[in-house]
């Protein structure tokens, strides 16, 4: 049975300096509120893992919280570059960022292997690319056919944080809409935290619902609007303008730092729902 804690207590409990941390969510259900709380608590030297680093990791990398990034696509989807990520890789600002990059298929296989407690995953992939020489991938021969395939090492983050629509008081979690790699990530983790839009008396089964039993999760924390400017299907809507606007904010170091100071370090997350009306779309605070 997961313990239900306030967000700040949850983060304080699960995230430590130097941890390998994955805040997952594939365009949908990105745990922004949790990530911001990690920053407010001043965590450092993190190894950040995530298929699609997105705005949240741009923010975390940009303030220098990460020593290393493991990823497969570091862009602002549909908009362009992640400028803070680029600045870190291209100019080492505000600190050098070690990187390990994979393809989506490789990262997905790595999480699935982690969730399965296997040391590696197998896929048809990487062959012929320059990625092979730059990342952690190996070849493996099929013992039946002799065919050569790619092997990728299992991902087993110290901490995995995901966002979901709801949990009950025993920490059973349900998410629906695009499920991404969240289930695999949680099951691959040493410690797991799920932030939720709301805590309900009883989970009502939903079409497309993915249920994570409370006993397979360590901590649950309520964080309404906690995935904005990403979204929680059926509860909040994706703030596409927030994604576009990020391009302007992140382009400039000082604009970025001022924005982070005002919207993340000084208070609750910039995209939080402050209205308490969970069924209404939430506007980004700018």
């Amino acid at each position: 049975m997961a313990r239900v804690l306030p967000l700040a207590d949850a983060i304080a409990e699960v995230v430590r300096d130097g941890d390998v941390v994955a805040l997952e969510g594939f365009t949908h259900l990105i745990p922004f509120a949790a990530g911001h709380e990690v920053l407010r608590q001043g965590r450092r030297d993190l190894e950040l893992v995530r298929m699609t680093p997105d705005l949240l990791y741009d923010q975390m990398v940009g303030v220098g919280a990460a020593a290393r990034l493991v990823f497969s696509y570091g862009g602002n989807p549909g908009v362009g570059s992640l400028h803070r990520f680029r600045d870190a890789v291209e100019h080492g600002w505000p600190r050098p960022l070690a990187i390990e990059e994979h393809s989506h298929a490789g990262m997905a296989a790595r999480y699935a292997a982690g969730a399965s407690d296997l040391p590696f995953g197998v896929l048809r992939g990487y062959a012929g690319t320059d990625l092979e020489a730059r990342t952690n991938v190996s070849r493996i021969a099929c013992p039946f056919t002799g065919e050569s395939l790619a092997a990728v090492p299992a991902l087993r983050p110290d901490v995995v944080i995901v966002h979901a629509q709801e949990s009950d008081r025993r920490g059973n979690v349900q998410l629906w809409g695009i499920p991404g790699v969240q289930k695999e990530a949680v099951l691959a983790a040493s410690r797991s935290l799920v932030t939720v839009e709301r805590i309900v008396e009883r989970l009502e089964p939903r079409p497309g619902g993915v249920v994570l039993p409370g006993w397979a999760i360590d901590v649950v924390a309520e964080a309404p609007g906690g995935s904005q400017p990403s979204y929680a299907a059926g509860i909040t809507v994706r703030d596409n303008d927030g994604y576009r606007e990020w391009d302007r904010i992140a382009r400039d170091r000082s604009v970025f730092l001022a924005w982070m100071e005002e919207h993340v370090f000084a208070g609750p997350s910039p995209y939080r729902d402050l209205t308490g009306t969970p069924d209404a779309p939430i506007e980004v605070v700018r």
Binding site: F26, T52, G75, E101, R124, A127, T129, L131, R244
Partner: protein, 259 residues
Amino acid sequence: MSPEPATVGEIQTIVAARRLRTAKVVFIGVGKPSTAAILAREIHHPELVLVYESGTIGAKPRRVPLSIGDGELAETADAVVSVPEMFAYWVQPGRIDVAFLGAAQIDRHANLNSTVIGDYDTPRTRLPGAGGAPEIASGCGEVVVIVPHDRRTLVERLDFVTTVGHGDGHDEHGTPRSDFDRQALGLRGRGPTAVITDLAVLEPDPVTRELVLTQLLPGATVEQAREATGWPLRIADAVEAIHPPTDHELTALRELVAR
């Protein structure tokens, strides 16, 4: 009354949409590919199945999504699956006929770079990276590449091979020039079958796999395309002139983008 003349970008999207007339299932990212596929479904081929790497199979968006994870894609999909399932059960086994891909660089054998400009360790420009591209390009039946036509994009030599197209190509007898070859690498799909730029359509030579200019977009010339290509571009014996967008195509595209 006829609509305003088409822009180059609109023509490129419409040409890409036409390419999907006979496809069954198409894998798409955001941007022009997504717009082209949604347009194709609206005007050419209502049964066309759109698959996004976010896990939405059979999405029926009425608007152009900003991201591959927009809510409308999941809400209108026939099935929504996890990312591991998407790559393992759907992309890898070759269930998808056509994939649309973009890239920052492409070479004469349609290999793609979306990782880095300059040296990997000291990059001039760090790009987003591979995403789904390497396995999409190896798993899907064929790949259609959509890129702007300029010397920054169509380059003599990639700074990084993110995605294998036709490797080092074949000699005039069809023998691979090196082990950097789809078959030798065990890649399953046919690889890139067309590169749609804002000037022309390039297709791999059936024997050598080198890209050849086979069609020109309305208003473009062979000379323009040659100048905008970073290698000595081969031109087909008979270059086909692509039909300009019809009023129907153009109106439908503009309505779609405006929604």
